[in-house]
Symmetry: C2
Subunit: 676 residues, 2 copies
């Protein structure tokens, strides 16, 4: 990893909150329930002999805010400010922390990746720590060898509606809070620490004494470091939203409000826990570093897990926990076609959240069309739950983006249920949902339209005169159209396998039907292989000639429900696996499904490629089909994120290695969890 | 008034909320606790034979939001949309309403200007109506003569986190609400009304059936108007902020939350009251129209009262009402040097709010410096109350903007108290605050530094090595410096007059001292008149030669405490009045204190002139000093607002007729209340 100049999101879990830092010349800072990467100016540095040395994580060295008061233009005083250049900064971007060093300064943020215990069965003191919407950060200033004290600073601008943390904590801490629901602070050490608010750094250091000018945009802390001393300041960064966090169908609060009455309480608590958080962060980092993953893959894993955390909301709905992952900056809630891919992360990390979402969609966000049960795309957008049975995304009479995904979401719910059961053996839940599994089977088979090939031929009646689409909603029919689609045929195959297993003990006859359907799907896919081209076309209508990678995706579910043996040579689906291997070997070449830089091109028809799905397909290729993936691919993908889209962490849809970079950090990249 | 193409803010009282409309090519729409004029696209119009006709109050005909989903550029479809041009629109901008007519469309908003009853003594049913954070609006579509039905629309974009009002009101209303605390609706009339959400109008009307696509930014209502029919739809626009509305020193809710549990409750209630609101609006308009004011002055009155309403917050602090006026888009709370000028509006409208603020500043936002008591500039910013005894604005060691205004704020509190007592004869309050009046007198005299001229010679110790400034904070010393300033000398004169009256019955000796001080001030001012120039210099140091208008301002307080007779020829301050008249006649000429367009230039040294203070000085000139003010001046001032700063309603500081127009709507313009 050569380039370390990229934006990163550092986030507590379940708070829909983030602290962004890392792209020189760009802002970052605090975000809460935002559909954009934060753009505050973050000033971290020190003043020495009248000069200000600063990490370059800001866009505006001088605030224009003063102009509105004095009605004259501010003289540019940027000369006073010396930003460290990219070449001066050493960055360690680890799984559990992010550290920046330049000159005598070192700043780190801890983001341990830890299990989130199930609130229904976990004692309050453990939950309290797990859900506390705060992070630990450290600022170290090395003033050894200098006979003068220096003043270091941690400042954020703009902060609206500032209050001093010392006022709110009876002097226990110093720091700054904003009415917009975030703040930061340190343990009060007396006069060597100062809370200050001013227009900008030149204004602040231009005064003999720092001031608390709360009409000005910049607020933060000044730390005095004595002569010839190295000193570390332990910061806590926190977020808080009181009261109703969601509206519409369900009014929820953040679950952390059970334990913390206010932002100040969060920050105070964080102070008592930060040592543990640093230890946990170190442990997380070591875990990933002990894996065999390349530096590029470690970066992709780390980046994706952070964007995922940014998107999470752990809510309290009338006393019950409710888990919602926002679709990144799109802010759709609990999108089911993402959730199925989040399972690879969550079933290791927090299996209970998978069940939580299965229940939510079973109880409220499912519907019946002419074929039987189906599931909604999502359960709302921008903190507002849609009316039961409706998503925020799907509308009728379309043949592209925003149409229904009934077949795929039906598969997704089944696949999640199958993987969840395999992981947890949750017999009570299985018993309660048995009739729903049957409903799912009937709905699946009804969507074949009675045709013997086992694949989808019928669009949901909810589509009106449109047709169903897939999670690849913005692509051409090769991946965008659901009916007779190879990718969906394979998802149906995997869903039937899940249903077979879910029904095996309770209803051997229906289980047998499910298996028969899986076999029909497999036969259809295998028989669609074109010996002339050496691959399977994307649309199974006998006419299409498109080449895609994601045909192989659904093999992963067979493995995750413990049926890997079926894919072995001689196994029931050995031929399917073999055929897909041949398919993949044919298409995985430059000019077809590889870009010139070696990155994966999911559809040969389209420059739009999806990072989360690339990671998933890389896993299937290497670990299930035994098709090697070059390190060139990983280098390309790492560059797409770290260089080409450096301002927006973890964008999913990348067009020929680039993107508009308008803030589409995306949670689904946690398919990287498959790698290790 | 030729130009009617300007932005206007329509606001319920006490909710810090607004609906902006009126500038073609510019957005507007809903704002809540915003420091900017809202910039939503507002689409009001109709679709007829495949063409969309629309008022031009939007900036973006086609939304770019869809691009983030489909990752391709949207074709511009602006051709489908026909905006009415300025020449097609008839606008009636009245005191109680704002009406736009074009083609078959007519849209009006009602903003009645009514007293706000004192919550402490008013029955709940009357308070409920007075504080309801909602406005009535009307859309009339004339489809007579057309054999086809048409579809009219009222749409706003972007609205985040949309919910259908029909869902929240069990079908009683239809409309759209945003999680950001605003919404609108009409009585449900069945299928002729539709709630819809989509990307933009071309997308909406491009579908056969409107959809509810809540991930898209635009939401609103579609109204079917039958063939050959004229129909009026009664809309309610509402705002709502639940829970804590302020932080810092005092945690308050909006007082309206006592009566309304939710936005939906506000809108439902509005529906039942809108007929009365329209009647009250008509009454307000007629009241102003029956006055003798010119169209320009009627516009200035109307514009200023709306910006004032936009800035108001009626809060509930532990069961007690708390009145706070924000300093427009600067968002400083309860700024005292504005409040004294708001009295001319509020003592007629709602005297209890003046007392409410006097109490707040007496109890929490006063302090003692080396001279005695003084009052803070404000009590916070951006919904956060500063710690008691501190404003958000004042800091030490400055000689300009952001320094202390101790002397002027002391005067301001005394002047407000004097005017309040004259208006209400509130003996109980007078008795309770008597010792504070005495403190004020001692503090006033201490600030003369023992000099016999009665004017300020001592800066507050809070200034450190800086010095005090005045409300004219961004001006040169002619109006910006407090010490030995003519404007402040006159404010001291008026404050002493008030103190004399406040102390007259209880303590004749101290009252006599106060009057003696007033006489000293008056003598100093009169003796500073320069016969050679025919005016009084702005700084009374014997060296300054600046010419300013606001020397005459404080005469208004003498009148408002019932002491007009003192200014008559032969009265105790007849000579003072006569001298100020000569001063004004000298400076009120083009090239000195008039701009080339005839507009008032408050300081000959500066192009920065302050609308609210101009209105006040116009009143003093005409009604107290008998100096005529030309209609040319009113025409100039109306043009400064309606033409030169048309995008930002009621900016106070105007530089040679213009301004940066960055959102500085300002409440103090209600000094126009003096005119009628």
């Amino acid at each position: 990893m050569e380039n370390m100049a990229f934006q990163a999101l550092h986030c507590p879990v379940g708070a829909n909150a983030s602290f962004a830092l890392g792209l020189p010349g760009s802002g970052g800072g605090f975000g809460l329930e935002q559909d954009r990467v934060p753009t505050q100016d973050v000033f971290i540095g020190l003043e020495k002999e009248g000069r200000i040395f600063c990490f370059p994580y800001y866009a505006h060295a001088v605030s224009a805010a003063v102009d509105s008061f004095v009605q004259t233009s501010t003289a540019e005083e940027e000369g006073v400010l010396r930003s460290y250049g990219v070449q001066d900064i050493r960055r360690e971007y680890r799984y559990g922390s992010d550290t920046f060093e330049a000159g005598p300064l070192r700043f780190s943020i801890a983001t341990p990746v830890r299990p989130l215990p199930d609130p229904a069965v976990t004692p309050a003191d453990r939950m309290e720590e797990a859900v506390c919407p705060a992070l630990a950060a450290r600022l170290t200033v090395d003033n050894r060898g200098n006979p003068q004290p220096v003043r270091a600073f941690f400042m954020v601008s703009p902060m609206k509606g500032m209050t001093r943390l010392s006022d709110a904590t009876a002097g226990q801490m110093k720091g700054m809070c904003s009415k917009d629901g975030y703040g930061f602070g340190v343990r009060n050490e007396g006069d060597s620490l100062l809370e200050a608010a001013d227009f900008d750094l030149p204004a602040l250091f231009g005064r003999r004494h720092p001031v608390m000018l709360t009409i000005a945009p910049m607020g933060g802390l000044l730390f005095t470091v004595p002569a010839d001393t190295q000193k570390t300041f332990e910061l806590v960064l926190g977020w808080y939203r009181a009261g109703a966090a969601t509206g519409g169908e369900m009014r929820c609060t953040y679950l952390y409000t059970r334990y913390f009455p206010s932002l100040e309480a969060v920050l105070r608590y964080g102070l008592t826990r930060s040592r543990d958080w640093w230890e946990a962060a170190e442990e997380s980092s070591r875990l990933l570093e002990r894996s065999a993953l390349s530096p590029e893959r470690r970066f992709l894993v780390t980046h994706s897990v952070r964007a995922y955390a940014a998107s999470t909301m752990l809510l309290d709905h009338g006393g019950d926990p409710l888990w919602v992952v926002n679709e990144g900056s799109y802010m759709m809630m609990g999108t089911l076609d993402l959730s199925v891919d989040h399972c690879f992360f969550e079933l290791r990390q927090n299996p209970w959240v998978v069940k939580n979402q299965l229940e939510l969609f079973a109880d409220r966000y499912s519907y019946y069309d002419q074929c039987g049960i189906a599931f909604c795309h999502d359960c709302g957008t921008h903190q507002v739950f849609t009316p039961a049975g409706n998503s925020s995304y799907e509308i009728p009479n379309l043949r592209g983006c925003f149409s229904y995904m009934s077949q795929e979401q039906l598969c997704n719910w089944i696949l999640m249920a199958g993987m969840y059961m395999e992981r947890t053996k949750d017999a009570a839940w299985h018993a309660r949902r048995l009739s729903l599994f049957r409903d799912c089977l009937h709905s699946m088979t009804a969507r074949t339209g009675g045709r013997p090939d086992g694949i989808q031929h019928v669009d949901s009646s909810r589509c009106g005169d449109g047709w169903e689409i897939t999670t690849y909603d913005s692509l051409d029919p090769s991946l965008g159209q659901s009916r007779e689609n190879l990718y969906i045929a394979m998802k149906c195959w995997a869903a039937y396998l899940c249903l077979e297993k879910l029904l095996r003990d309770a209803d051997p006859e229906e289980a047998g039907q499910a298996l028969a359907c899986a076999q029909r799907c497999a036969r259809t896919v295998v028989s669609s292989f074109r010996e002339d081209g050496g691959y399977i076309p994307a649309i199974l209508d006998g006419k299409d000639r498109s080449a895609i990678i994601p045909a192989i995706e659904p093999l992963v579910y067979a493995v995750w429900i413990g049926e890997r043996a079926l894919l072995e040579p001689g196994g029931m689906f050995g031929e399917l696996a073999r055929t897909l291997r041949r398919h993949l070997e044919t298409v995985l070449v430059k000019g077809v499904c590889l870009f010139p830089d070696g990155g994966f091109r999911l559809s040969a028809n389209n420059t739009n490629s999806w990072m989360s799905k690339i990671f998933l397909c890389q896993y299937v290729a290497q670990e299930i089909l035994g098709v090697p993936v070059s390190e060139e691919a990983d280098r390309a993908h790492a560059a797409w994120w770290a260089v080409n889209t450096a301002s927006c962490p973890a964008i999913d849809q990348i067009l020929a290695g680039r993107s508009a970079e308008t803030g589409f950090h995306y949670p689904r990249g946690v398919t990287t969890a498959l790698w290790w």
